[in-house]
Subunit: 233 residues, 4 copies
């Protein structure tokens, strides 16, 4: 029983708590880590702390995504782990939603994931080696009232992930979709001390991402749910 060995990771949608936790954990495991955001200034502390490398890219933009991968190819070689965390949403009564924001929610949450996954897969398939992980939400499987744009983006992301798993897994690429059900702890978003662990600890989420990456290929996970012990579902 052999676990796959990965060397370098690319995390898109950095800046959130989860991306930072993933960066720290994967660095600790010895992987090179590239962190991608539109605005890289905010990534400087994390890079300084972990030795990760920051890249600027708008994941909705085909040309920018192609250039990102080409740059990484040249400077440190193609990543064999790619994690897509970026998302955008827009909430409110349905008839008050702004169409441009709905479009943007789908673009950032799902179309950017497509662009990134396509560049990743093109590099992984010749080696029949690699992993592509997608961060979903409860909105990936349940369309809530007042939140159609997020459901549209996250449902689409799940459709992409499932289609990819069916197509790429038999070619040696591990594709997984994480249904994160609950709020993630972060700056300005902390547990009520009287009710510990009611928000997802991003370090705990990252641990499960790592364990999924380590799965031997005879027993791969396509989908897994994660929620705080007290979360209603």
């Amino acid at each position: 029983m052999a676990s796959p060995t990965y060397k370098s990771a690319l995390i898109v949608g950095a800046g959130q708590g989860l991306s930072a936790s993933l960066t720290r954990l994967l660095r600790k495991e010895g992987l090179a880590v590239s962190i991608v955001a539109r605005d890289t200034a905010k990534l400087a502390p994390l890079c300084a702390e972990t030795g990760g490398r920051a890249w600027s890219c708008d994941a909705q933009n085909e040309t920018e995504v192609q250039r990102l991968f080409a740059d990484i190819d040249r400077e440190q070689g193609a990543p064999d782990v790619v994690i897509y965390n970026a998302s955008a949403r827009s909430r409110g009564p349905f008839i008050e939603l702004v169409p441009a924001e709905v479009q943007r929610a789908m673009q950032v949450t799902a179309f950017g994931a497509f662009l990134v996954a396509q560049q990743a897969a093109a590099r992984m398939l010749p080696k029949r080696h690699g992993a592509i992980l997608f961060t979903g939400a409860s909105a990936s499987v349940k369309g809530y009232a007042l939140s159609a744009p997020f459901a549209m983006g996250k449902f689409a992301l799940r459709g992409l992930a499932q289609s990819l798993a069916r197509e790429l897994a038999p070619q040696g690429i591990h594709v997984a979709h994480f249904v994160i059900d609950g709020g993630i702890r972060g700056p300005g978003h902390n547990d009520d001390p009287a009710k510990p662990d009611t928000l997802l600890d991003p370090d705990a989420i990252a641990l499960t991402y790592l364990n999924i990456l380590r799965q031997p290929r005879s027993a791969w996970t396509w989908e897994i749910e994660l929620r705080p012990w007290v979360e209603r579902f």
Copy 2:
């Protein structure tokens, strides 16, 4: 037990067999029917046959959708039934997919549905009366290999429909999503005479749409599956 009474329907994505069957059946039931396509020339025979009225509109375009509804408001009053059938897809090995076509698949299949549903809902909510129906596919619930763009669009459409059902049903608007699993019979796409009824008859689909429209509000359907008797699932 009272069934809702509807007066006029708007069908977007006409030209397909299903839209023609819906037009014929709803006309027969006494509803005024507006049929929408980008190219209305092809709709002339159906309009001549049924008395339906054709409108030209690109459903991906916010301004065109607004104008469509404004025009219909003026000429025949807002529809109380709106059916969204339009979709686009792109097939092939994942790494060969053309990003612009992926984007278009999401735009036509899901974003257009959002634009149309938003205009429809704005007119239905003040009256607390109306129905919005979405035509899904097996790709709405299953992401197939070599077909990520269609899964992305149809999953997103389903997320939209579910979110809308949760938000609008308690305000008196019936929202339903149809999972059409199988090929639809049509010009150039006929049953093998040795295996009758292996393709969905669009008249049979339309019959179920009508029956869903007639449901009293104490027992509304949000989702229903339709497939030929011999279809593997």
Copy 3:
């Protein structure tokens, strides 16, 4: 496009509002209707009203179910529509549940459905004609806290229905599963007059059962959800 023509129905688990509504509606459509309960005394008024015929049978008991079908064969011929409505449940904190009641919930809700469906299918398959309908609940697709036994029974029923649909539909038998999500109006269980139609009207449910029975085989439904317009889901 031809709808199937059915001649006689067997409804198991009568006494509820839904069974009575189905009896009335199917009788009105011209079908002979047999109504089955363990205690037939309570069925007398419904039989008198509709001309339905009552039969006594414990659906959990293999011998009784065999005899029921044999008796019906002799007296009025095998039914070509069979509807299974019976269920049992047991609620409470998990560790206080009584094992015998848990077993009974599974027996009545799912094993009885198996016994009845098997006798029905044996008679339908040679003619490649018939329909078997199963009444599910929100508990068929969601396991609620404090209600494990009902989830066990209704999940099992859904597994049976799905397996049967895959096996029997290509042999001409229509199998359908109804997810009834909400309370059903009935004696002692009425709508709050200030909030009309917040409970499912059994006549409205029955109407959808009838429309599913009428579906042409090119567009059959395996699963459909029904809930009041105001029901949270």
Copy 4:
């Protein structure tokens, strides 16, 4: 971020490859392990190898299950990890299935799980500590033709697991359901050497069970899928 610490495990349905792999792995992690089967003779080699302790019990039998837990209480204290692997199935054309075997499939697969989980929960709840894991299958979420009894049992098991997760997780008990999709490698059931890793390696499955047990409570999994990289789904 703290992972839970468990001391002793009870594995029901031993003898399969998965139970043996779980025994070895949990022993290696320092847990005491009790292995339960109806026939303990076959467990002797595994016990000799690992230091696990074998117990005889028919999990369908309420009295035997109560006695099992009482005996373990006395001899080594209540387990804080309980894993239910037992199942029974019966395959064939629906109308040829033997009712007693259908009943047995539900009893072993689901009712036994209820009995075991109830005893386990009664011991875990006062300490607000423990984990109950259920081994599902693709038949837990999909009812295949010719296999209704297995679907009935595994769907019921999933309903139980989901209901328990909703009820017990907020009381500190981790409940998880594993959807094992594919054949498990074992004696007489080996990979084709030309197609490595096409059967699930039970050691690989066990590794994921262990990782789920180690999850901090802020990010618990209720459901996870596992399948070989080449498995069609």
